[in-house]
């Protein structure tokens, strides 16, 4: 650097560039991994707002009279209770439209490929409609399913499209599906009067004849709702798409 350079006034844009470069080279105290920060923040929100959230969850859902009537019919039992064992224990159970959800465990462990349902076989949509114990609904947003399965003597009909799985079942008589998930509690979705499970979770089928639930598999985010007397669980699409599909069920 020569003396004449030193005596020159610094050009404004040069000073600004030097300040930016200086900023980029500054060492701030070590930053914790963002995922750790996210966990810590979440814990603080949950600790301080547990009661608030429980209240909000119920207060925020204002169903239309039609949905409310359906919900009364299908909301068999909602048991909410904290257990003293804390986080690792199941803290709440939700039964809705033939689905029993245990919230608060550690969430699912991967268990490999899903096994077929009892007596599951490939059928045509017409055959499914004839054989199922309920009126099979097809969301108009998706059109004809690419595959149809009938299982457990017509208790469950599964419609498949690429990347989308829709299980339909008799949602009024008992528990058909058992779900295990970690926090958060599923989100209530007023539009379709159902529940959105935003995270991967364990799901197992509870056979019609009773007995132990079948082997658990890991399901992705899922929307659960009820249409007339049919329980539905939709897996694959994201929340917005799932709601669009659910709203198109007639």
């Amino acid at each position: 650097m020569s003396t004449s350079d030193d005596n020159d006034p610094i050009a404004p844009e040069d000073l600004e560039a030097r300040l930016r470069a200086l900023g980029e080279g500054l060492a701030v105290p070590p930053v914790p991994p963002p995922a750790d920060v996210a966990r810590a923040v979440r814990a603080r929100i949950e600790d301080s707002g547990a009661d608030d959230r429980a209240r909000r969850r119920w207060a925020a859902w204002r169903p239309s009279p039609r949905v409310a009537a359906a919900a009364v019919a299908v909301l068999m039992a909602v048991l909410l209770g904290a257990t003293p064992q804390g986080r690792a224990a199941v803290v709440s159970v939700l039964r809705f439209a033939g689905v029993e959800i245990h919230v608060g465990g550690a969430g699912p462990l991967p268990t490999g490929a899903p096994s077929p349902l009892p007596g599951e076989r490939r059928v045509t949509l017409e055959e499914a409609r004839r054989t199922a114990r309920f009126a099979v609904a097809v969301p108009s947003a998706l059109g004809e399913p690419s595959d149809v399965r009938l299982a457990d003597g017509g208790r469950v009909v599964t419609l498949l499209w690429p990347g989308v799985r829709l299980d339909e079942f008799d949602g009024t008589l008992g528990v058909v599906w058992h779900k295990e998930l970690g926090e958060p509690f599923p989100e209530q979705v007023g539009v379709v009067g159902g529940w959105w499970i935003p995270r991967s979770h364990g799901v197992s089928y509870v056979p019609a004849g009773g007995g132990a639930p079948r082997e658990e598999r890991v399901a992705g985010p899922t929307l659960i709702w009820q249409h007339k007397l049919v329980g539905l669980r939709l897996e694959g699409p994201d929340r917005a798409e799932a709601l669009r599909i659910a709203s198109s069920v007639r």
Binding site: L15, P34, R44, A60, P184
Partner: protein, 183 residues
Amino acid sequence: MDDDEAVTRALAGDLDAYEVLVTRYSAVAHRTASLLGAADEAEDVVQEAFVKAFRHLKGFRRGSSFRPWLLRIVANETHDLTRSRGRRSDLAVRLGREREPYGPGDPEDPEGAAVDADGRSRLLEAVRALPGGEREAVVCRYFLQLSEAETAEVLGVRLGTVKSRTFRALRRLREEVGREHFG
């Protein structure tokens, strides 16, 4: 998931969606807290800011940018902290690497690197010596590389104030650094 969707879902109580926002802005929040004077308490400040942001999410104007809104909360938390500690909100930083890959001169030339490091430390000292408001404007505009509008939002001042503080700060820095060149 973009910010707007994450905010929408977080407003509905979806903590997964809020985690997305926390993860996304954690680094810049820490940097902001540190540079505005939180020092080794930046972690606490940032966590507290994120918790407050969640509680006040309803006050976030939809369609505007989440980042400056969040950083304003971080800045306010930092101010509260430094006030409560009765200390000056100083630049809690030091010069990082010995030399910059983008600095002037040949990076393989140790002498050039030393001269560069010297210039940087003088410039940092000059920024430290600026009056508080001007220093914060410089920190936001150049160290955090926020726009003038974002800086105004983060510091809670008008756009014109940001412009005039930045202008005065640059003039002062130019004088300071220029004078040292003679010395």
